[in-house]
């Protein structure tokens, strides 16, 4: 009971604070300083900002394509295992579960440049990111749920096991620059320190039961499975001896004592007219080299088994019956023997692509002079966005349509409608509010599902608090 309750609470927490890797609300929402992390060419309309440490950006995410907690845990009197099977049989090997979390440790930025109009923007900061993805291991699940009986000839594809995850800290430093009145470009350099990593994305092999040559059935095993990990082995050792040692080790790795890597972001913002903007960015073109705290496992081999011959005669193979029997036992032992190594490996960060086109329109009329209040710029914007992320099996895509509106002075809102792998009904709503120099923002994804979070396949809230200096009113 308690376990189930705590599971429920954790699940609720994860879902209610979730944010998927796609940050469609934040992208292009330039009133929020953190939007610069999604496109380094963004020139924020301020002289500088300081993120409130640990509060400037917080998001957690959970997503499951093809299934929700509601599908499995609905209290409808139907047998739980029936619901589980129905849910599971609706999934296929390309369905996946993702988890992403990002917390700013510190962040800041300022405009600079020669002349009166500062034409460059420098931003920097450090954040901790956790990212994991697991594909639904379809054939493994079918084996576990149904076994291999009455499945003669069916190939169980062992490449269905595909999962990876990591926790990293990232120190970054980016510059955006105005090239001319129409074009801004920018880039950001990132230094990664991996706290831990696991990677099992390069699996292959099969298990087949078919009609045998010498027996009714034969079972063919062909295994090529591997798991690479870094950062777990020494953590385990530390945890066994002293938990404060483990915390120390973690802290050290967060502060760039872990496995190091390097990455780059690029972005552009192009304004062909005063009302039209096209922008794009490529984020996390980078790698991490894992050379410390390694524990790798491999399961490789092939064997075809069709039972054993109890009336084995020495004449048949020149073997004693015992040697024959031991040979079969050895074959199996060898087949399922896990090789442990500590060889270095390199992982690539999931590359993200953002593209957007937006059209601004509608100027507010001044009450005083019955003319356009020119200094305030356009009130509305509509547009479309494309998001793509490179994942182990195939890129994942999301398409967003949005409407942006300046409600009153300092209060801005953005509504998004997104189609992605999780659902076709993702409506998001975000607001950014300025109270003096303080900027507060709250972005929530998949708000339709808030009436019953259990039904949501992905859902999110993101919030942050910044101090913004010299904010221009016009943008």
């Amino acid at each position: 009971m308690n376990r189930a309750k705590s599971f429920c609470v954790v699940f609720y927490f994860v879902l209610s604070s979730a944010f998927s890797q796609n940050k469609q609300l934040l992208f292009g929402f330039t009133d929020i300083p953190q939007s610069i992390l999604l496109n380094p060419s963004t020139t924020l309309a301020n002289n500088g900002f300081i993120g409130i440490p640990l509060l400037s950006k917080n998001h957690f995410s959970f997503g499951a394509s093809g299934v929700s907690a509601y599908d499995i845990f609905i209290n409808d009197g139907v047998d739980f295992n029936t619901k589980l099977r129905n849910a599971v049989f609706n999934l296929d090997r390309n369905d996946f579960f993702t988890l992403n979390q990002q917390t700013d440790i510190f962040s800041g930025g300022f405009a600079f440049g020669s002349g009166i109009e500062k034409d460059s923007y420098l931003s920097f900061g450090m954040y901790v990111e956790t990212d994991a993805i697991a594909y639904y291991p379809e054939d493994y699940a079918i084996l576990a749920l149904e076994g291999n009986a009455n499945k003669t000839g069916r190939v169980f594809d062992l490449s269905d096991l595909n999962a990876s995850g990591e926790m990293i800290s990232v120190f970054h430093f980016g510059i955006g620059k105005k090239i001319n009145e129409q074009l801004n470009i920018g880039s950001r350099i990132k230094l990664y320190s991996s706290v831990f990593n696991f990677n099992s994305t390069d699996n292959s092999g099969s298990f087949i039961t078919r009609e045998g040559e010498n027996n009714l059935l034969e079972h063919s095993f062909n295994l090529d499975l591997s798991l690479q990990t870094s950062g777990f082995s020494d953590l385990n050792n530390n945890a066994n001896s002293n938990s404060s040692e483990a915390i120390k080790a973690l802290r050290k790795r967060l502060l760039f004592g872990g496995n190091m890597g390097l990455g780059l972001d690029f972005g552009f913002t192009y304004n062909p007219s005063a009302q039209l903007t096209v922008e794009g960015s490529v984020l996390d073109i980078g790698f991490i080299r894992h050379s410390k705290g390694l524990q790798n496992y491999a399961l490789r081999g092939s064997y075809t088994y069709e039972g054993f011959n109890p009336l084995f005669s020495e004449v048949d193979g020149g073997q004693t019956p015992e040697a024959y029997w031991n040979e079969i036992a050895d074959e199996f032992e060898e087949l399922f023997n896990i090789d442990a190594t500590a060889s270095k490996y390199t992982t690539w960060r999931p590359i993200k692509l953002n593209l957007a086109a937006r059209y601004k329109f509608g100027k507010r009329q001044s009450e005083k002079c019955n003319c356009l209040a020119d200094d305030e710029g356009y009130v509305n914007a509509v547009g479309g966005q494309l998001f793509a992320i490179n994942r182990p099996r195939a890129p994942q895509l999301a398409l967003t349509a949005f409407y942006y509106r300046r409600l009153f002075k300092g209060l801005r809102a953005k509504v998004t409608y997104t189609i992605d792998s999780f659902s076709y009904t993702n409506v998001g709503l975000g607001v950014s509010a300025y109270l003096g120099p303080a900027n507060f923002y709250l972005l929530a994804d998949n708000i339709i599902e808030y009436q019953n979070i259990a039904k949501a396949r992905s859902i999110s809230i993101q919030f942050g608090l910044n101090l913004v200096l010299g904010r221009a009113q016009k943008q």
């Binding site: 009971m1 189930a4 309750k5 599971f7 429920c8 699940f11 907690a69 509601y70 499995i72 845990f73 609905i74 209290n75 739980f80 295992n81 589980l84 084996l143 576990a144 749920l145 076994g147 291999n148 009986a149 039961t209 045998g212 010498n214 027996n215 009714l216 059935l217 079972h219 088994y305 069709e306 039972g307 054993f308 011959n309 109890p310 009336l311 084995f312 005669s313 019956p321 029997w325 036992a329 409600l407 009153f408 002075k409 300092g410 209060l411 809102a413 709503l429 607001v431 509010a433 109270l435 507060f440 709250l442 929530a444 708000i447 808030y450 009436q451 019953n452 979070i453 259990a454 809230i461």
Partner: protein, 188 residues
């Protein structure tokens, strides 16, 4: 202005949090989780030519041997989760004699805990005669099966109806094939 902002923020917060709830779900159902895979596996097979039942020109009444060191039923997982087993045998005989087949399941003290026996029909004209036999292991017989460490197999040559004997020119062979179907129930 500040008031309006506050209203919008409160409304938004309400939308984001107050409306959110989990209803109609019961996570305690996870306790009912039960996996019920059915595993099919080859077990034993053997082929004996008619000549194997001769020694120095005389008929051997029985050919027997055993498989020891069976470890599968030492596994806690198997002991706890195996709820039923079926063993299927298929004998293909082209010898003009019938056979009795017997499997003895012995425990670690080499004591017989379970025995199964069945006959395979003779093949008067040398064609393959197929005999099937299956045995279901539940309750007591399943418990006996779970103590198995050794399987002893006997193929016994039954006397012919007409008194004829096998000799070096006798044709045919007896082929034994088998599989097991193991029903598991894995709960939480």
């Amino acid at each position: 202005m500040l008031f309006k902002k506050a209203i919008v923020l409160i409304l938004f917060g309400a939308l984001a949090t107050s409306l959110s709830c989990i209803s109609d779900v019961d996570f305690n159902q996870a306790d009912e989780l039960l996996l019920a895979p059915v595993i099919e596996s080859s077990i034993i097979h053997t082929e004996q030519a008619a000549s194997h039942f001769l020694e120095n020109g005389n008929e051997l009444v029985v050919v027997r041997d055993s498989i020891g060191n069976i470890e599968i039923f030492e596994d806690e997982f198997v002991i706890n989760n195996l709820i039923r087993a079926e063993l299927f045998f298929e004998v293909t005989n082209s010898i003009n004699r019938s056979f009795s087949l017997q499997l003895n399941f012995l425990d670690e003290n080499e004591e017989v805990q379970h025995t199964l026996t069945f006959d395979a029909d003779a093949s008067p004209n040398g064609n393959d005669i197929i005999t099937n036999y299956e045995e279901n292991f539940e309750d007591d017989s399943l418990n006996a099966l779970k103590t198995t460490r050794i399987i002893a197999v006997e193929i016994r040559l039954n006397p012919s109806d007409d008194g004829s004997m096998l000799d070096e020119n006798s044709m045919g062979r007896v082929l034994l094939q088998s599989k097991g179907v193991f029903y598991l129930e894995i709960g939480t």
